[in-house]
């Protein structure tokens, strides 16, 4: 008996899923446009809500595009800064080494001259 109950319980949902979905009413774009226009004319708040949504969406798209360009700007600035820093750093490194060499060479020369006297 219990088995039959379980089978019945499985069968009923299976039947429900087996039913073909009701076909959506097909309407032409012109009809849909008219329905939308009628709804907007009938209810001004609905019209405002639609315009607001469209504006917000457009704004978001613009903001996203601006952000992408800004992101690029950040990377371009970073890249140019890196190139400048490396060049300046290397020149400073060379200059300091040259200064150190001059001091050391001068000192050694003086010591050698003093030793030869």
């Amino acid at each position: 008996m219990r088995t039959w109950i379980i089978v019945a319980l499985c069968f009923v949902p299976a039947l429900a899923f087996a039913q073909p979905a009701p076909e959506a009413t097909k309407r032409s774009p012109a009809e849909l446009r008219q329905i939308c226009a009628d709804a907007m004319n009938a209810d001004p708040t609905f019209s405002e809500a639609i315009v607001k949504t469209i504006n917000e969406d457009t704004y978001l798209q613009h903001a996203k595009a601006a952000s992408a360009v800004a992101k690029n700007e950040k990377h371009v600035i970073l890249a140019y800064a890196a190139m400048w820093l490396l060049s300046v750093g290397f020149v400073l490194f060379l200059w300091r080494r040259q200064q150190g060499l001059r001091v050391e060479i001068g000192q050694l020369r003086r010591d050698l001259e003093a030793a030869s006297k």
């Binding site: 371009v76 890196a82 190139m83 290397f90 060379l94 060479i105 030793a115």
Partner: protein
């Protein structure tokens, strides 16, 4: 000669750097495919050219040094190797920043990037050998420089074979650039060439100073001034 040439070349390259920077952001047109990040190209690629030039000079002068054992060739090799390390670091760093802007990743094991990294590591190896390998450092490093130079043709041709590396314009290489882009790019190349010459002269002078110091130290040891 180099004493007088260094300030002249340094001034010319400083002017060139400012002018090209201004041209990149005001005169060169906006690239519609790569967008604003294409501006990195105008300094990134000349840096890569100077990396190749420095490495080639380092390799050739190392080869000549191995044959003739003349110190001036060794000085030139050392100078260009260090400069190549600096230009290579700039290429890798800016390349990585460009990759982040263009592909949204900091690094990709793409053919040209990987080969460039290997070349840079060989150059870093050269500098480390010169610093730490002792008496035979110049000859060991010269061999390494010749080996590193052999990689350049592979890296240069990789950009055409690579499907991911950002291209100069909309799908072309630097030879296909047109109009203002071409002018700004080749002005940048000229500027960085002058800058490269300035650095080479400065570093060769420094290498000559190091050699003089070594000789003086030897004299000092012989004379008993140094212990």
């Amino acid at each position: 000669m180099s004493n007088k040439a260094i300030p002249v070349l340094a001034t010319l390259s400083a002017i060139g750097l400012v002018v090209t920077l201004w041209l990149v952001f005001t005169y060169a047109p906006f690239e519609p495919v790569l967008l604003f990040n294409q501006k990195i190209f105008y300094w990134h690629v000349p840096h890569a050219f100077m990396l190749f030039l420095a490495t080639t000079i380092c390799g050739v002068s190392s080869l000549v040094f191995l044959k003739k054992r003349t110190p001036k060739w060794d000085d030139l090799a050392l100078a260009t190797a260090e400069i190549a390390v600096v230009f290579g670091a700039a290429v890798l760093i800016t390349g990585s920043i460009w990759a982040k802007a263009a592909w949204d990743i900091w690094w990709s094991w793409e053919k040209r990037l990987t080969m460039s990294l290997l070349l840079w590591l060989a150059l870093v190896g050269y500098v480390l050998v010169r610093r730490f390998a002792g008496a035979s450092a110049d000859r060991l490093a010269a061999g390494l420089a010749v080996f590193g130079t052999l990689g350049i043709p592979f890296i240069y041709t990789m950009v055409d074979k690579s499907d991911r590396h950002p291209q100069a314009g909309s799908g072309g290489n630097v030879m296909t650039l047109t109009g203002p882009m071409k002018l700004v790019f080749w002005m940048s190349v000229l500027t960085f060439f002058l800058w490269f010459l300035t650095l080479v002269m400065m570093r060769v002078q420094s290498a000559a100073g190091e050699r003089e110091l070594r000789e003086l130290r030897e004299k000092g040891l012989d004379a008993g001034v140094l212990s």
